[in-house]
């Protein structure tokens, strides 16, 4: 082999190595996004499962505050139905909007329930209520953190896919830009359904 041929071979080998590495990196980053999204779903489901238990415990002490308790239960059912709908038709705008609204209603109902807990010391001291509200707090946090992870992962992925020269590769293999979740990690939203004991 002549010198130019050797040089050409080396350049080709470097290119192939780089391409394989860059491709694998993009795939890995994309998988992180998918995983983060799955986590959001898991934690939301768990949250819908916890709320009825909390209502049941509260009912033992404050059965007469029926209005608040039923508002929470109803809001939870609506939010769950909206979430199921959104899951069955991913990408459609309508279900996502109605889910956001249902979540808003659930948030304010939960806020009233927590105010109720504050007002009844014996309820606040209940062991299973404390355990449940710890679980609920943790689940709320996990929802927020997996949204945050989703956005961080989408950010990393987009930066990687848009930089030259990886950009060429991304275009070639159809790595499309990932969308970010909007207005999810704002303090206001996280605080709205915050359980504080």
């Amino acid at each position: 082999m002549s010198t130019p041929q050797i040089v050409a071979c080396i350049v080709l080998a470097v290119l192939v190595f780089w391409a394989v590495g860059a491709y694998n990196r993009l795939v890995r980053l994309r998988n992180v996004i998918g995983n983060a999204f799955a986590q959001i779903d898991v934690q939301l489901k768990r949250r819908y499962d916890l709320i009825p238990n909390l209502v049941e415990v509260a009912r033992k002490y404050v059965a007469h505050e029926r209005e608040t308790l039923e508002a929470v239960a109803a809001a939870r059912n609506q939010a769950k139905a909206a979430a199921d709908l959104a899951r069955s038709r991913p990408g459609a705008a309508g279900p996502v909007t109605s889910l956001a609204m249902a979540e808003g209603v659930l948030g304010s109902a939960m806020g009233r329930l927590m105010a109720l807990v504050e007002a009844y010391p014996e309820l606040k001291a209940d062991q299973s209520l404390r355990e449940l509200s710890e679980e609920l707090t943790s689940t709320e946090n996990k929802v927020a953190f997996s949204r945050q992870l989703f956005n961080d992962a989408a950010y990393d992925y987009n930066v990687a896919a848009q930089q030259f020269p990886t950009r060429l590769l991304a275009a070639l293999f159809g790595f499309r830009e990932a969308a970010m979740l909007q207005s999810t990690t704002s303090e206001a939203e996280r605080a709205a359904v915050r359980v504080q004991l």
Partner: protein
């Protein structure tokens, strides 16, 4: 997005410091070469009056360079492998941690939830979680080589004194360390500093007299070059390592803010730790006679501290200056008293705490150059080998009892025979034990205690009882016997709830005069063995130790406590906070070294201090460790 800027800034600073490490290595090579070259030329000019003045032997520079690099880099590699093999869980268990797998109350559940949350936020695998039951200060550490094998340990004090958000900040900080690969960096730098100390050690080997007590002139001169260059390199290495560590703390703080997207959690934790530190110092200033004042006053100077000042950390987190924050206990139900670990702690071969990255600075266990350890001769090595294979409960018991029996006492020997009746290998084992030198016996005892500690409680108690019978067989219980027996009971006995006098806080202000009394009692008891068993020198040692805490006041003469009083005093001192117990052991050791010729402890003094350290669950200071042989890793890991 300030935290992203801070992360970028600290990463750059780390790179600059690592470049300085490389420069340090180059400088070390240059200095050694230059000094040896000057020596050679000077020597040949003086001795030979050689006209070939500028002649150097072939491969002169290559050899010098290779020696330095082999010691530093080879040492670094060996030490890294050793540190890695420890494993994070080992460190956490050593520090007295209990793994949280199934939580006992809401606060423990909360800690596990928070760890899950942070694993989500950081995108890392979930580490194993340990709780340091007996620690009442707010602190936490992460350990482990890789993110997959890392552990996070949190003190009971942190669970009790931090709100949920603050605890989240604390855990997020540890996740920051894991995320940024600090644990690995920390271990490699520690190993590198160790490698630098090897150059110094090599110099000592050349410099010191050989077995026949003869020193050669070239050996002394060349040795002096290596000693000087090695210790300068070591000091510079330690300073650089501390500087890197400070940058990584800031980076972990910034990462914690990134993970939690909240400044108040971590900020609150830092302010509470700050308050805790301030209170400790104020207590020392207010009452000069308080315990350990002298020790804590000589805090490490800024350039050797591994953590940035708390004021600076708080300022960076909040972007403005905020003061310390009081940290009352938030325990929801007081009925939930701290649970104690139900298993006996594993034996501590050396102090692995240095390889973990704590949240806040703790007293540095080792601050001096390591000294060569005693070596085993062939007989002893064989004996160690054979004893290392002992695993049956009966055999372990026989070896243990042989180790603590008073040598040369016929009656104790008969009692030992009674205890090991029916064991065919007993005499052979005893012969092996006899071959162990004084420097090997205690390390062995600790290994055995670690192995027997896994037996059921009933069997363990049986061993403790047998030991008592053997020791009392000659009608007298010598002080060292009592220490042995206390150590056995400590490691093998039933886990006892903390004694009522055990402080529930980490503040020196809470350390009562009565606790100081008990420290004095325990010290008086030890003075029968330290530094050499003579009444006069023992009293002097006691005075030297106690003077540190009763500054200005007159130290009362030691009164020798009886058996009950010793046990009582020990229980109180064992209840002291974990940061104080090692300081006490150090104080004993330093006073004993000062009172010993050539800085070398007598066998009985070294044994007494080692056993005392074991009783207080304190890491062994390197100055004490060098009096003992190092058992092969396969044996000391207890497998």
């Amino acid at each position: 997005m300030r935290f992203r800027d801070q992360q970028h800034e600290t990463r750059q600073a780390t790179l600059r410091l690592l470049a300085l490490f490389v420069l340090l290595l180059v400088a070390l090579v240059l200095v050694v070469n230059a000094a040896l070259c000057a020596l050679w030329w000077g020597g040949s000019a003086l001795l030979l009056r050689d006209p070939g003045f500028l002649y150097l032997p072939p491969l002169f520079f290559e050899t010098n360079t290779a020696i330095v690099l082999v010691f530093v880099l080879g040492g670094c590699w060996v030490e890294t492998v050793r540190l890695r093999s420890g494993g994070g869980a080992h460190v956490a268990e050593w520090a007295g941690g209990r793994e949280l797998t199934d939580p006992r109350d809401v606060t423990e559940r909360r800690l596990l939830n928070i760890v899950d949350e942070m694993a989500l936020a950081s995108g890392l695998p979930r580490p194993r979680v340990f709780l340091l039951e007996r620690e009442h200060a707010i602190n936490a550490f992460a350990a482990g080589w890789s993110p997959q094998a890392s552990v996070v340990a949190v003190t009971r004090g942190a669970l009790q004194r931090l709100t949920r958000d603050e605890l989240q900040g604390l855990v997020a900080h540890e996740f920051g360390h894991i995320h940024n690969g600090d644990l690995r960096l920390h271990m490699v730098l520690l190993a590198l500093v160790w490698g630098l100390s090897l150059v110094h050690g090599y110099g000592h080997r050349l410099f010191d007299a050989d077995e026949d007590g003869i020193r050669s002139v070239p050996g002394v001169l060349i040795g002096a070059v290596f000693i000087a260059a090695g210790s300068l390199g070591w000091v510079a290495g330690r300073m650089l390592q501390a500087a890197v560590s400070r940058q990584r703390e800031l980076l972990a703080d910034a990462s914690a803010v990134q993970f939690t997207r909240s400044r108040d959690g971590l900020g609150g934790t830092l302010r509470k730790i700050w308050h805790q530190v301030d209170e400790r110092e104020a207590a020392l200033l207010r009452v000069p006679s308080r315990l350990l004042a002298g020790q804590l006053m000589q805090a490490p100077p800024g350039w050797l501290s591994t953590h940035p000042p708390l004021a600076e950390r708080v300022r960076r987190v909040y972007g403005r200056v905020l003061g310390p924050l009081a940290a009352p206990s938030l325990a929801i139900d007081e009925a939930d008293e701290p649970h104690r670990a139900t298993t006996a702690p594993a034996p501590a071969a050396s102090s692995p705490i240095a390889y973990a990255v704590p949240m806040a600075e703790t007293p540095d266990p080792g601050g001096t150059l390591p000294q060569p350890r005693p070596k085993s001769d062939d007989d002893e090595r064989e004996a160690i080998d054979r004893l290392g294979r002992v695993h049956g409960p009966g055999e372990m018991r026989a070896v243990l009892l042989a180790l603590i029996a008073t040598p040369g006492s016929q009656r104790e020997r008969r009692a030992w025979r009674d205890e090991t009746k029916g064991l065919s290998t007993a005499d052979a084992l005893r012969d092996e034990v006899k071959k162990l030198s004084a420097a090997a016996r205690l390390p062995w005892l600790e290994v055995l205690l670690g192995r027997i500690a896994r037996a059921p409680l009933h069997d363990r108690q049986d061993v403790v009882e047998a030991a008592r019978r053997v020791m009392a067989a000659d009608g007298q219980v010598r002080p060292i016997d009592r220490l042995h027996w206390l150590a056995l009971r400590h490691r093998l006995g039933e886990a006892r709830p903390p004694s009522p006098s055990a402080g529930t806080s980490n503040d020196l202000a809470d350390l009562s005069e009565s606790a100081l009394m008990q420290v004095a009692r325990l010290t008086a008891f030890l003075s029968r063995l330290v530094p050499d068993g003579e009444l006069e020198t023992g009293t002097a040692w006691y005075q030297a130790v106690m003077k540190r805490w009763v500054r200005g006041a007159i130290v009362p003469a030691p009164e020798l406590p009886d058996a009950d009083e010793v046990a009582q005093a020990l229980a109180v001192v064992q209840g002291l906070p974990w940061m104080l117990r090692p300081v006490l052991v150090r104080a004993w050791l330093e006073a004993a070294l000062a009172a010993s010729p050539m800085n070398r402890l007598s066998d009985s003094a070294a044994d007494a201090l080692r056993l005392a350290g074991l009783l207080l669950d304190s890491p062994m200071p390197p100055e004490l460790a060098r009096h003992y042989i190092e058992l092969p890793a396969a044996i000391s890991s207890g497998t």
